[in-house]
Amino acid sequence: MIAFSILGAILVASAVWTISARKPVYSVVALLVNFATLAVFYVTLSAEFLAVIQIIVYSGAILVLFVFVIALLSSGVAPFSAGPNRLPMIWLPAGIVVLSALVFVIHAIAAAPAPPAPAASPGGPVGAPGVFGSVADFGKALFTVHILPFEVTALILMVAVIGVITLTSEHIPSAASRKSEAQVDREMREAILRGGER
């Protein structure tokens, strides 16, 4: 419970920092802290595989692309300045709505009958085979019970990849008209030689 409170505090603080930071790179660093804390959360819930995948996929792949784009596009750009407050006092009704929703959910959970304890309760060290959340269990569940959602997700990602290629290929000359690598090499070498004469 103590660990939960500390982690929760870090999680919320880093989330707030992510959206309130004036420089995009600070947002990325805050989001990195956020993802790492979330991974630790998963470990405390004995979901070892999920924790590791969280770091590999979100911190290691997606967020790195954010850094890549920011480094490419925003170097030398001034940090965001505080613009005119276009939604005055919107925080008051929004806060009330969110707070009442939270209270409602927590009340509903507290009022609901306690769920039956899982048959094979997570005993033993986190991640041991056979224990809830281990790599072996996760893989087995993914490829047997949940195979359809898994494959559908893969298909959706495939569609996205093909879509990106189709959308951007307009500006790329088609493979047939593109210069061969050897030709590029030759032209580069000639250019270097010409550079010496200039």
């Binding site: 790195v64 692309l65 850094v67 890549f68 480094a71």
Partner: protein, 326 residues
């Protein structure tokens, strides 16, 4: 002994061992590079140049710590620490010897060990990319953009080369992977996986011939151009510790870890492990002395058009063979 005391003692010993081996790996690299280029290498400080690492450390510590005016101070100071932290934290799960009941060589014997190493290594790129961005000048920025692209591309092939080993071993725990290699080392059935791993490991540690990130002929010193003194030292330590890490992983995944070759079991497993790691370190130094740097577009084309398809093919073939014979 309470568990936290054990972890603390192990961490302290490990930190000492890793930092010392970094210092002497650097000396060995300079010596070997020297001999390969027909010159003596460092030989002034102490007998046979053995105190050279101490002299280097003193020099780095006494140098002025500069921060460029255009730099982003917070990120600029944070970046070397991210690099160093990720480089060291991998060692929490690397086992150096066979674990018996109640005593393990690794600080934590994690069941998803190899995945955890991948996860920590994937965070390592932030040190370089953020450091290059925060320096606020053009060469570090170019270096960091290159490094991000290079590391993302090669990480994929590297992870795929691990999967072949994981299929054969049937586990993701490093202990389990080493124990699965009692009969034969995985370098035999996974030779292509091993080749892919060695190539991607050089690219992941940004060493020659894949050191486009700090190519001195075009980018001055790449991402750490603006860093000086101890902050540069931290990046430097991280690079060598990463080199040590990839050597450890190669020994664990493909060369049987602490398993003795040819039945020579009278030598303790730790010694075998260290010997294997040393061979790999030498191999990387040898590569650096031998091969010229690749051109950047060739590097990316090679990663995506050669390494990745070969890695996927290797994975498919391994999976089919294991499915029919395993």
């Amino acid at each position: 002994m309470p568990w936290w005391l054990e972890v603390l003692i192990k961490s302290a010993i490990l930190l000492f061992v890793v930092v010392t081996s970094f210092a002497y790996a650097m000396l060995v690299e300079r010596k070997v590079l020297g001999w390969m280029q027909l010159r003596p290498g460092p030989n002034r400080v102490g007998p046979w140049g053995l105190m050279q690492p101490a002299a280097d450390a003193a020099k780095l510590m006494l140098k002025e710590d500069l921060t460029p005016k255009t730099a982003d101070p917070l990120i600029y100071k944070l970046a070397p620490f991210i690099s160093l932290l990720t480089a060291f934290s991998v060692y929490a799960v690397i086992p150096f010897g066979a674990s018996s009941t109640g005593a393990t060589w690794a600080i934590g014997n994690v069941n998803a060990g190899i995945l955890l190493i991948l996860a920590i290594a994937s965070i390592g790129v932030y040190g370089i990319s953020l450091g290059g961005w925060a320096s606020g000048s053009k060469y570090p920025l170019l270096g960091s953009v290159r490094s991000t692209a290079q590391m993302i591309s090669y990480e994929l092939a590297m992870a795929l080369s691990f999967v072949g080993v994981l299929i054969l071993a049937g586990t993701t725990s490093l202990d389990g992977i080493v124990n699965a290699q009692l009969r034969w080392w995985f370098v035999v059935p996974q030779f292509f996986g091993f080749l892919i791993y060695v190539i991607t490991a050089v690219a992941e540690t940004n060493r020659a011939p894949f050191d486009l990130v700090e190519a001195e002929t075009e980018l001055v010193a790449g991402f750490h151009t603006e860093y000086s003194g101890l902050r540069f030292g931290l990046f430097f330590i991280a690079e060598y510790v990463n080199m040590l890490t990839v050597s450890c992983i190669a020994a664990l995944l493909f060369f049987g870890g602490w398993n003795a070759p040819f039945g020579l079991t009278m030598v303790p497993g730790v010694v075998w492990f260290i010997l294997k790691v040393c061979c790999f370190m030498f191999f990387y130094i040898w590569l650096r002395a031998t091969l010229p740097r690749l051109r950047y577009d060739r590097l990316m084309a090679f990663g995506w058009k050669v390494l990745l398809p070969v890695a996927v093919l290797n994975l498919i073939v391994t999976a089919i063979v294991v499915a029919y014979h395993g």
